[in-house]
């Protein structure tokens, strides 16, 4: 998902403390920043929450690409509001990671250095206005699928961040679907654009849930700690089952010849994405990886004078006040 391929950290701790910790989690208690926690729990969470935060921030770029070119003023203010929301989501999550002892600047540096990842989905280009519809509908739809259960995650600050985020994600998905309805019911050319966007984003959206359960080695510990609630395949299946009728409503075709309702299992059978493409993209070789990171680096460097200037101003005025006193 937004935190794909998170490796659970091994933990060597006092067995008694570990048992008590696990018992608290099993009883549904929330772990708070000052509570004792295994080092592995702390490290895994820092990585997972940061990767999620980075995804929110980098995720602004594919949509930011269309703010100046939105077809109407109303679409423009809506898209702007959505992209602003993503910045807020990043902030909530960075703050949750900071409660675990991580430094904000260091997390940011790790993103810029490529030492930390973000979701593979944001390394695909947004070529037409229909992509804004598809991103809201599918990408935010997939995000909701993952984030709703995470509202019950064991770490208090993370769970609370998720609750705030989920409230806003629904707006995001609906605005995307609204664009899709307009396009799908528009001219032949608009409908073609909508279908093309769905064709390009379908498999990358399925990849958001991470590798197949059989190839996902780190799930067991994270699930025991309740920092992962459902398996990758469970969520992917749920996403497909929910999305297929929506595509039918739009009159669009999901680009999968094997997609078929399985009456016995009461769910859709579908083709898995190409996992070699997924590993390629997550390892830096997707269509936009370089562009995305360069945009982040440029923003960080160009914002430096503002960060420094405001701090210098505060230091100057504080020292003046002290002198006067």
């Amino acid at each position: 998902m937004y935190a794909q391929l998170i490796k659970s950290e091994a933990t060597v701790e006092n067995p008694k403390k570990l048992r008590e910790f696990q018992a608290r989690i099993d009883a549904g208690e929330k772990i708070e920043p000052k509570d004792w926690m295994p080092e592995g729990y702390r490290k895994t969470l820092i990585r997972q929450i940061s990767q999620h935060a980075h995804s929110e921030i980098v995720g602004q770029l594919p949509e930011g690409n269309w703010i100046t070119r939105a077809p109407t003023l109303q679409r423009k203010v809506i898209l702007l509001a959505k992209v602003q929301d993503e910045a807020g989501h990043g902030l909530y999550l960075y703050c949750a990671a900071e409660t675990l002892g991580a430094s904000r600047d260091e997390l940011n540096q790790m993103l810029l250095d490529g030492r930390m990842k973000y979701s593979s989905i944001f390394n695909y280009p947004t070529l037409t206005w229909a992509d804004m519809g598809t991103v809201g509908w599918l990408v935010d739809g997939a995000a909701i699928m993952n984030q709703v259960p995470l509202q019950r995650t064991s770490y208090g600050p993370y769970a609370r961040a998720m609750i705030r985020i989920c409230k806003e994600e629904s707006f995001h998905q609906r605005q995307g679907f609204d664009i899709m309805m307009k396009m799908a019911n528009g001219t032949l050319e608009q409908k073609r654009m909508a279908q093309d966007a769905l064709n390009r984003f379908w498999y990358p959206s399925l990849m958001m849930f991470g590798p197949s359960d059989s190839d996902s080695q780190h799930s067991a510990q994270s699930m025991a700690w309740k920092i992962k609630i459902n398996t990758n395949d469970e969520l992917r299946q749920k996403f497909v089952d929910q999305t297929v009728p929506q595509a039918e409503y739009l009159g669009l075709t999901i680009p999968d010849e094997n997609l078929k309702w399985n009456e016995k299992k009461k769910r859709y059978d579908f083709t898995d994405p190409d996992w070699s493409e997924f590993y390629d993209v997550i390892n830096g070789n997707g269509p936009c990886n370089v562009e995305r990171l360069n945009a982040r680096k440029k923003a960080w460097e160009n914002g430096k004078w503002v960060r420094d200037g405001l701090l210098a101003h505060v230091q100057k005025t504080t020292s003046k006040t002290v002198t006067v006193e």
Binding site: W36, Q84, R104, K304, W305, D308, L310, A312, V314
Partner: protein, 109 residues
Amino acid sequence: MTLSNASDMIAEDQISSTEWPLWEIFIRGQQGISHRHVGSLHAPDAKTAIQSARDVYTRRSEGVSIWVVESQQITASSPSDKGPLYEPSKSKIYRHPTFFDIPDKVGAM
């Protein structure tokens, strides 16, 4: 040396690696209820913290008043103090109104 160079040097020497301090944000959701902790953010000073809190935490009319407190100014109790702090009140059940049996005929009390 020009003025802008001089200020660049100050920035490089003293500030460049300094993170803005962290602030805890409290919002009063509506008139008549108390402020509630909603999250945190980094800001150089209190005024900017309020400005940013307004931008992040009240985007959908969630508040009518904002408090900001620098995080390092907050002193928190420790989880290990749970016993000494809260155990004593458990034995003082007489502090609850339900401890007393008042006859029905007395009426609402």
